[in-house]
């Protein structure tokens, strides 16, 4: 699904997130295909909170990213596509440092 090209612009997720050190305008694009230590950006997209309150899950990212790719609206946050993509990204990020805020009690 990450490599699925469609829509009016022939875009896939991999079009923008498949290479290192690319950017759209001035926005840096994380390469979501790297694994291990080099894995970047998965915290932002795969639902792993980097900063409490700023957790962006795949469905949320989809809401933001799909309109520019001229694709239809995502159905809901628990759709099969968003779960599959989350799992794909989490699998890719395996080996990366888990970067979550500590919970103090």
């Amino acid at each position: 699904m990450f490599y699925f090209r469609g829509g009016t612009h022939d875009f896939a997720c991999a079009t923008c997130h498949g290479e290192d050190a690319k950017r759209i305008r001035l926005q840096d694009l994380p390469n979501l295909t790297t694994s291990g230590r080099r894995a970047e950006g998965v915290h932002d997209v795969a639902g792993l909170p980097r900063v409490a309150g700023r957790a962006a899950h795949v469905p949320v990212a989809a809401q933001r990213l799909l309109p520019p790719a001229a694709l239809p609206g995502a159905r809901c946050s628990a759709s099969d596509a968003s779960i599959a993509l989350t799992m794909f990204l989490a699998r890719n990020a395996n080996g990366a440092a888990f970067d979550a805020p500590a919970i103090k009690r």
Partner: protein, 270 residues
């Protein structure tokens, strides 16, 4: 902040933390997995605005390029894609390959259009700056595509190069199969300006705004328009309040002068 690794959570002790995981080639899409992905995607999307579900129906180029994503494209497959896409290019009816380049800059900057939240009648931009560097004045450019700064100077102002530039924008897959670049003409994102008028209610990119702006101005300048009447009212209010304030100021100054004169005068006024 506590730092653990995903690995240690998933399989404690199985691998040293930070070791990269070797991913099998199974994660790359195949024809069967692509069909499955398409079915799941269709079920997970809903139509909204102008974005209908048929946008997820892949044509041959999209299907093949999805399949070979991240893999080297075999030569015969690449040739097949390029040939089919080259045949789809519709060259300009009047044979003119050079248009209004000032308008081109505006289209290159414009990123709106085709989204489900966009008005389908509004002009569609090409958003070239998202991926390419073009004019040196624009610093906010992307790097997904190569820099096109001084493209004409470097490649030469030949008819052949103009034809290539037109074709590349019309259908980029005709020149390099499975490129990241959208097929602007083929997919109807950009159209010939003259053609646009017939195909869309509100003309093509760039054109529409040129027409809308004078329209807006004449609308605002109508003597009975809301803009004009409210402006006139504002001016009148300012004049009235200005006069009132001025009068008050003069009165205050006179009072002050009277007081000053009374205090400092050697003569007593009756």
């Amino acid at each position: 902040m506590r730092r653990t690794t995903l690995t240690s959570i998933a399989r404690r002790g199985a691998r040293r933390p930070g070791d990269p995981v070797r991913l099998r080639d199974r994660r790359r899409p195949t024809r069967r997995s692509s069909a499955k992905a398409a079915a799941v995607l269709k079920a997970s999307f809903r139509e909204q605005g102008q974005a209908k579900l048929d946008r997820l129906d892949q044509d041959d180029t999209q299907k093949t390029c999805s399949e070979y994503a991240g893999k080297a494209l075999p030569k015969d497959v690449a040739e097949r894609i390029e040939k089919a896409n080259l045949a789809s290019i519709k060259w300009p009816a009047d044979g003119k390959l050079v248009g209004d380049w000032k308008n081109g800059e505006r289209i290159a900057q414009e990123g709106r259009g085709m989204q489900y939240s966009d008005d389908p009648k509004a002009p569609v931009g090409a958003n070239c700056y998202a991926c390419h560097q073009l004019a040196p004045q624009e610093l906010s450019y992307g790097t997904i595509g190569p820099s096109l700064y001084q493209f004409g100077k470097l490649r030469g102002y030949t008819d052949e190069m103009r034809k290539y530039a037109y074709g590349k924008i019309y259908n980029a897959d005709a020149y390099s199969a499975c490129t990241n670049m959208p097929r602007f003409g083929h997919k109807g994102i950009l159209t010939e300006a003259a053609d646009h008028g017939r195909r869309r209610a509100a003309d093509g990119p760039g054109l529409a705004r040129q027409q809308v702006e004078p329209d807006l101005q004449t609308w605002a300048a109508r003597p009975d328009s809301f803009v004009v009447s409210s402006l006139a009212l504002a001016v009148r209010l300012c004049t009235i309040s200005g006069l009132a304030a001025g009068r008050a100021l003069v009165r205050a100054a006179r009072r002050d002068f009277d007081r000053f004169r009374d205090r400092h005068s050697r003569y007593a006024y009756p």
